[in-house]
């Protein structure tokens, strides 16, 4: 595994193929918890953590359990169970050992189970045939991309409270359109390659 390969995966996951803005994975929490900057940051950090763990565990489950037994078609089912129990475990662990972080993330932790970015990263790792290190790097940097997008979006949204727009666009529609404009900005990264 070369250093350049890892760099290329990271760049792809953060900018070129940003999970939210380019691949449309994880839109629900992106829209749901982006009204305030601090909750958005908390959610982003939690997602990085869970995506890294999920890539790790799903790779192990796939390589040592599903493939030897010829059960690849059970991937979706196995992965969602791994993710659900992982989230539960992380929740219990944080509650016991780092209560301050637990209270900060609070309600956002259980929500991560149904974040399609997490299941998405596990499935994409398998689809792309990444090895263990590549999978973990893809998971972490995918999470970083999520954090970047949600923080950018939250700062736009905080300002939007004072904006003047048609009444029918109140709430969700205007949020979607501003997210679209951020996505448009991210289009500028497409085709970006180190070599």
């Amino acid at each position: 595994m070369s250093f350049t390969g890892i760099l290329s995966i990271s760049l792809g996951a953060i900018l070129v193929e940003n999970f939210i803005l380019v691949q449309f994975l994880g839109i629900c929490p992106f829209m749901g918890v982006s009204k305030k900057m601090d909750t958005a940051t908390g959610m982003g950090l939690a997602v990085i953590f869970v995506m890294a763990l999920a890539s790790m565990f799903c790779w192990v489950v796939n390589e040592f359990l599903l493939v030897p037994l010829g059960l690849e078609y059970m991937q979706t089912l196995a992965y969602i169970l791994v993710i659900a129990s992982l989230v539960q475990f992380v929740e219990m662990f944080l509650q016991k050992f780092i209560p301050s972080l637990y209270t900060a993330l609070g309600i956002y932790l259980p929500l991560i189970t149904t974040n399609c970015a997490v299941l998405g990263v596990a499935l994409l790792n398998t689809q792309k045939g990444y090895n263990f290190i590549e999978s973990v790097v893809y998971g972490v940097t995918g999470g970083v991309g999520f954090l970047l997008a949600i923080v950018l979006f939250a700062s736009v949204r905080e300002r939007m409270e004072f904006a003047d727009y048609p009444k029918a666009f109140e709430g969700f529609p205007i949020a979607l359109i501003s997210a679209g404009l951020i996505a448009l900005a991210f289009m500028g990264f497409s085709g970006l390659k180190i070599w």
Binding site: Y73, P166, A168, G180, A183, L184, M187
Partner: protein, 213 residues
């Protein structure tokens, strides 16, 4: 059983995408050709109906503490079945939807309806709810596809009509490629939701005026 009311709720007043704002990832991601939209919509319709039936059947057996986990297992089972069927019989759809078919597992519409409807209602009502909510989702997908495909490529019915190429309404080079890109997804859905909010509010105001008279 109130078929008419459920029909209206699924398609308009409680539309899963436009009013409940569920399942937006797939709505924006795959609506680039009519073929994708129809395929995705019908898959969700089938999965949603089956899940609603099974969960309504099991609603008295599943302990409430572990119900979410149980729902997820039921949903993942049906998604796997549909995924395998699509891979076997419609490989073109499988390759163009890609990772979004297995991702139906985490589509909030299905878990949302299981929690909000199937866990509290009879099997028949739940089956109808699945069909109508699934239809509401499919209709939105189809509308999005038609708009984005027309503005983006100038075609109608891509992937299905005219041997897969779609009917060319205006030359492709005049299309706004932007509508096919992610930005188009955000923009189209935003405008659709805004339109529905406006229409629902107007209908409400009219009702109020009539009451006042």
């Amino acid at each position: 059983m109130n078929v008419k009311k459920q029909f209206k709720e699924g398609l308009i007043t409680q539309n899963p995408v436009l009013v409940q704002l569920l399942g937006m990832c797939s709505t924006m991601a795959i609506t680039t050709t009519l073929f994708n939209g129809l395929g995705m919509g019908l898959s969700v319709l089938i999965i949603l109906t089956c899940c609603n039936i099974v969960i309504a059947l099991l609603r008295k057996v599943i302990p409430s503490k572990i119900r979410i986990a149980a729902y997820v297992v039921v949903i993942a089972g049906f998604v796997t079945i549909v995924d395998l069927i699509i891979q076997a019989f419609v490989p073109a759809l499988s390759s163009s939807l890609g990772v979004f078919i297995p991702l139906i597992v985490v589509n909030c519409i299905i878990l949302g309806r299981a929690e909000a409807f199937a866990s509290k209602n009879s099997v028949g009502a739940s089956a109808l709810d699945g069909i109508f909510q699934g239809l509401g989702y499919t209709v939105v997908l189809v509308i999005m596809c038609v708009i984005r495909e027309f503005l983006g490529k100038g075609t109608f019915g891509g992937g299905i009509l005219n041997g897969g190429a779609g009917i060319q309404i205006f030359p492709e080079e005049y299309g706004a490629l932007l509508m096919i890109l992610p930005f188009g997804g955000f923009l189209t859905l935003g405008c659709l939701i805004a339109f529905v909010q406006w229409a629902l509010r107007r209908a409400e105001n009219k009702k109020k005026e009539e009451v006042e008279k």
